[in-house]
């Protein structure tokens, strides 16, 4: 008995010893990479101090005007200014919400693409639908202009020839459905590309699961619903949570090229606003201040979304 106990104790200790060692081995293996993260992502954060100065490149901070919270408070300095910021936030939220709603489209795209039997058709679809992702927004706009311009635009020519309209429509210069059309352009450009992730996830699903379900007499849709969907859910949730955290980062290029006087009040998202007010004027202090606010909001959203996921699905992603 004693011998047995001894043996057990020995084993446990060994396992403990092993676990203890592994704990740090794993960390040490990750360490060099974490150092890189620190160097490239954390170290530059000292620049956040510019948000409190009227920073001018090259001039030491000691000789720079300290403005305190001016850049932060300037966002809400008077009713007109507040109205501007609210409008910008409204646009940001609307477009982001639509973006999150359409984030299921790549999932559907991937699932249904798997139902295409002809390998060559599948390959062609998969290749060609990624094309829009490779064309810069500037060129996308010049294509959109060709399609929708009043003067000799493809669509207007078509509709006029068919006698459906009498006067050409100025689609690009309209503020109707700006949020929706921006979302649709985004979907068009990103759908095929975004689906790659889910295609990869589907590829990783154990084929045995399909076989087993088939043996149970499951049809095509039940296979999709009971095998494919659960298989890609983890990926979808991770992306969803990252998407929620990125709620206020719409990027600016797309909105910049599509913006004009008529749709400006609907299209100006936060990133475009910072560009218009801060970057164009070389106002580093202001741009940094907004960037800090954005980081804070994003991190709060990230952890909130993660907690929500824990509550709903029983597990978080981070």
């Amino acid at each position: 008995m004693g011998a047995k106990l001894n043996g057990q104790a020995y084993t446990t200790a060994a396992v403990k010893q092993f676990r203890f060692k592994e704990k740090y081995t794993l960390f040490l293996m990750a360490l060099p990479f974490l150092v890189l993260v620190f160097l490239f992502a954390y170290l530059p954060l000292y620049g956040w101090i510019y948000a409190f100065y009227d920073y001018r490149p090259g001039i030491p901070l000691s000789q720079t005007e300290f403005v305190g919270l001016q850049w932060f408070t300037s966002l809400v300095s008077n009713p007109y200014q507040m109205e501007e910021v609210l409008r910008v936030l409204r646009n940001t939220f609307a477009i982001s919400t639509l973006g999150i709603l359409t984030s299921v489209l790549p999932v559907i795209f991937a699932i249904f693409l798997m139902e295409i039997k002809s390998p060559s058709f599948k390959k062609i679809v998969q290749t060609l639908t990624t094309l829009p992702n490779f064309i810069s927004w500037v060129l996308v706009y010049s294509f959109a202009f060709m399609l929708f311009s009043v003067d000799n635009g493809f669509l207007n020519n078509l509709l006029m020839n068919m006698g459906l309209i009498e006067r050409p429509l100025n689609i690009l210069a309209s503020d109707n459905h700006t949020w929706l059309s921006m979302t649709l352009w985004g979907v068009w450009k990103g759908l095929g590309w975004g689906a790659i992730l889910y295609i990869a996830a589907i590829t990783g699903i154990d084929p045995e699961l399909y076989e087993a379900a088939r043996v149970d007499g499951a049809g095509r849709f039940r296979l999709m619903w009971h095998v494919t969907v659960p298989g890609i859910m983890p990926t979808f949730f991770v992306l969803l949570i990252l998407g929620i955290a990125g709620f206020i980062n719409n990027g600016f290029e797309q909105y910049f090229v599509f913006s004009n006087a008529m749709n400006m009040s609907k299209i100006e998202v936060l990133d475009l606003y910072v560009y218009n007010v801060g970057v164009v004027n070389n106002n580093f202090g202001f741009a940094t201040a907004v960037s800090i606010l954005k980081s804070i909001v994003s991190l709060i959203l990230l952890f909130a979304a993660n907690s929500l996921s824990k509550l709903v699905r029983g597990e978080g992603v981070i």
Partner: protein, 294 residues
Amino acid sequence: MGVNNRITIFDIINYTLFALFTLACFFPFYYLFINTISSNDLSSRGLVMFYPQEIHFNNYIEVFKIPGLGQATFVSFARTVIGTLLTVAASGFLGYLFSKPTMWGRKFWYRFLIATMYFNAGLIPWFLIMLKLGLFNNFLAYVVPGIVSPFFIILVKTFVESTPISLQESAQLDGAGNMTIFWKIVMPLITPILATIAIFTAIGQWNSFQDTLFLVTDSNLFTLQFILYRYFNGATSLATLMQSGASDTNLANIQTATSIRTTISMVVVIPILLVYPFFQRFFVKGIMIGAVKG
């Protein structure tokens, strides 16, 4: 099997929808392409719509005449290959490490990593750090900062966690170390996601020009995208000149013709199109490996 060969209404709808969407994605690209090989005169008047007219290749010849293109193509190729290899290897490895609950402080370090996706220090601090690290006019500036990419690590971790843990455990019992498990067990399982990351990184590397713009002044290290971007953006400087009320009679000559701008985009995209099918094999292959094992 027999069941699957029947063509159902679902198939018809499915094929049709995919065909339509594919067309919607392909047509603009096709349209831009036929405009680059059609007479520039017709093209600028918007007369080339569905098929090329008065075919010529002068636009491409013009673009290939841009000085320094050869060296730049080599640099772009090098950064794409090296950068992709490094990023894929690091993402796979770190994704695997972070899937291990035993790692010391795993949760903290994982969040330490992911948080970086959501903040941005701004151009100047970033630039000064790069300068201090000796990454000015240095090829490493293209590949090192991208090695650790939180987004890819998350993808790999999620993927690893969805693979059966039993394989890793049994290998561990056989006395395999972490590296062996990673190479022999985990890597083959996560090929599809690594292929995805490879595509994403390669495209990102191939298309990037911002780092060259700020960090490189030596023309031996210029990338293809940078040279083309400079060419593409002639109009921006024109606007600047105009704002300041310059009185140069030849201002309009600075404008890069639309035809050249479109051609430049084609020159960038076509190599991607040629390489892309190669990556697609990995998605199919993943299924095959699984199937054989099954």
